[in-house]
Symmetry: C2
Subunit: 457 residues, 2 copies
């Protein structure tokens, strides 16, 4: 039987744009494989974002360790007229370069090199597409999740957009990145198993509708899950629904259990939550939590809490899982230096409107103010001696992974600490100022020198 | 070494929202596993879409054939307090129901049942999340691709958004669905191999910049790929670039080869394409094609061609691959009938503002006008005798796949034929009228009866 998953892990070295292979074939053919440095960075800060929460490094590093071409793949490439010599080179391909990277869970900004790769140019080029795809997706998602969690002001947020996320891999990565961004857990059972993160779920309207009436449905469900269950109360009418939940809550108390919560999924969540909170409290069920869902995102959560909605837990789906107000980032991967004939490295920059790049091998330095909050960043050259905290760490040395991959929990903690240190004004949903990212004097001098040279040519 | 792909095919039965398992556990616990029918449909037509191109059925059917729980998975579920009896049921789980579906490549509209499943309710419920995820993604993408191709008015469109698509699975499915929607091919090498579709690619700016000058870079590339190569000419300056391309074009002619094309990726594509067309033609290179890319979608392509841009091939990336103007559809899966105590089926409908559902087991009938164009659709009951062409076919019979999965080529041909039969007004980017989807008299009577009953209760 044919598989519905169209690829295996060992296929994924071919998860690349054709042009990467074409360029590499030409480099090989022209005997050009000198070391070069590439930066992965995000060109622009989108107007509805004011920081990025970096994620996806683990998958990038494991990809670099695992990449290997199989005979079947080389036979496929042969059909595309690649030379036999180049295919033989691919047969023995492995990544032998150096990688510097910002740790996952770090707050970063536009134009900052997030991954810096120095390797023979064929190796550095061949891996581009996978890196961009992975960092774009995960950084976009972790950033979005952190915005939602921030607006929930300490109330738990659960990610459950699996049904509208972009396929299997995105479904997994949304759960991973939402957890990094501060969500309490996910509805995705496989993600719960793979990443060891908390999994949550209640029931669907179809469950209620499959019984003669709502009370029958609630009783059937709490028979199976008597403790801390959440009941979906809006299938027919929220008020009738919460009254039925009160009946169940009392029955459970009599059996030595507690109802966990009620879930509302439609209508005016502010008003409904206030009404049902009162009904629950009037019936002595003040311990029952109100779980709200239905088309939520950071803007709606902000609005609900500003209007004193009585919501204890937020379920956030599609708009988080697709980052729907910004479904991609301007992540790019650019050559910034190449070894010249003299054996040194020549800095390279691209000079075009709105698309110019920063030359040379760089480091990010972060400066904090006296209270420990992030004040500004400085992008300098790697060999400069600057005072701030350097963000890029060496993670692969001549192809060898020298970095202990942190646990998801510790990535999440780093994100939490980074978000705590980012002044509130940079987390505001509206009118957030631009965080200062400055360039060092040496880098500015290099840019001036290269600009003059490029314009004179 | 840990894997960077976090799941295998055999894991994917756990690719589900937790609540599906919770509901199933409760159904099992309450000895409730009567047959029920669920419809998968798209609730609303988004305001920037006027039809959907249905895709994703193949993966759904293969999933239903393959779903099977492993011991490791059951051990994981045990930690979530599922009863041993239910876990034993899952150990032997297989899908035994009937499935009716619209073929992939069909044009469909809001509220039309696209997949109809009749199965013991536990089976029908357990598979919901995978179905929704798959059909949402692929139908969204095939629809988007067909819109882009339609605006290109016969000029080839190549999909190359891999670097910004949402992860590995989306990257594959974008290539598949773009091909269904009429794209000529993809940049994704793995998709080319898996789906046997054409793969294309040129070169990146970094390739040009890694050489001393553009002409050196062009010569190096055409040394490796002398025939029908496309040269990227905008790294430094489009006009200087096309002049270098002319030099190369002449050199290739002298060696018995032909330059294939030049690619422009930035700036005012209308003006630039007209300028470089003239330069190419003035130099006798009228056979050299102009390939344009850079932030394209259906709206920009429409605008370019309306302004007489001289573009022969379009490369469309991020905005197609993320369906960025509509990154999700309102795909849902709802219970529409359940077997009652008397052994017959009771129709079920949900009655809430903007979210009411159509009851009963239904069929879609399509009516064409005299010229063979689609005129309107009628949603009727399955047992009605109506004249239009029925769209739903039986594809799984009591768990057995009775449908010959069509080749991707034939799905693409069906899409092409469906799009040809859809009147132009429904393909317009703006002010497209709503395609008429009517309800049969019997269905309307059933709705009236159920509404009365629900309101009286």
């Amino acid at each position: 039987m044919k598989s519905f998953l169209d690829y295996k892990e060992s296929d994924l070295n071919l998860f690349t744009d054709f042009y990467e292979l074409a360029m590499c074939a030409s480099y090989y053919d022209n005997n050009k494989n000198e070391p070069a440095t590439f930066d992965l960075f995000i060109r622009n800060m989108p107007k509805n974002r004011s920081y990025f929460l970096f994620a996806g490094l683990e998958q990038v590093l494991l990809f670099l360790k695992n990449i290997k071409f199989t005979d079947k793949q080389l036979i496929y490439l042969k059909k595309h007229n690649f030379h036999t010599d180049f295919l033989n080179y691919l047969k023995n391909f492995e990544f032998t370069g150096d990688v510097w990277a910002v740790p996952e869970g770090s707050i970063v900004f536009q134009n900052e090199p997030l991954i810096r790769i120095t390797a023979p140019i064929i190796e550095a080029q061949l891996i581009e597409t996978f890196l961009l795809n992975t960092i774009n997706l995960q950084t976009m998602l972790a950033t979005k999740a952190s915005r939602v969690v921030n607006e929930a002001k300490g109330k738990p947020v659960i990610e459950f957009g699996l049904r509208r996320e972009h396929g299997l891999d995105a479904g997994m990565k949304v759960a991973r990145c939402s957890y990094i961004g501060g969500c309490k857990g996910t509805s995705n059972v496989l993600a719960g198993k793979c990443y060891d993160i908390p999994v949550f779920g209640t029931m669907a309207h179809s469950f209620i509708m499959s019984y003669r009436d709502e009370l029958d449905a609630f009783r059937a469900f709490t028979k199976t899950f008597p403790n801390k269950t959440t009941l979906l109360i809006d299938t027919y009418d929220n008020i009738a629904g919460v009254n039925n939940a009160v009946v169940i809550g009392k029955e459970l108390e009599n059996s030595g259990y507690n109802l966990g919560g009620v879930r509302i999924d439609s209508g005016n969540l502010t008003e409904i939550s206030q009404q049902i909170r009162k009904i629950l409290d009037d019936n002595g069920l003040n311990y029952v939590k109100i779980f709200a869902s239905g088309d939520l995102d950071e803007y709606r959560i902000n609005n609900l809490l500003n209007n004193s909605a009585k919501i204890d837990v937020f379920g956030v789906g599609t708009k988080l899982g697709t980052s729907s107000d910004r479904p991609y980032l301007d992540v790019i991967y650019k050559l910034c230096e190449i070894r010249d004939e003299k054996g040194g490295f020549s800095a390279i920059m691209k000079l075009s409107e709105g698309k110019s790049t920063l030359p040379g091998r760089k480091q990010i330095y972060r400066y904090k103010n006296k209270k420990g909050y992030f004040d500004h960043d400085l992008i300098g050259l790697d060999n400069e001696c600057l005072l701030g905290d350097p963000l890029l760490e060496k993670v692969i040395d001549e192809g060898k992974l020298i970095y202990n991959l942190p646990s998801l929990e510790s990535i999440r903690n780093r994100a939490k600490e980074n978000l705590r240190c980012l002044p509130a004004k940079y987390k505001a949903l509206e009118s957030s100022p631009e965080y200062p990212v400055k360039l060092s004097q040496n880098l500015l001098d290099m840019i001036r020198r290269l600009t003059r040279k490029l314009k004179n040519e």
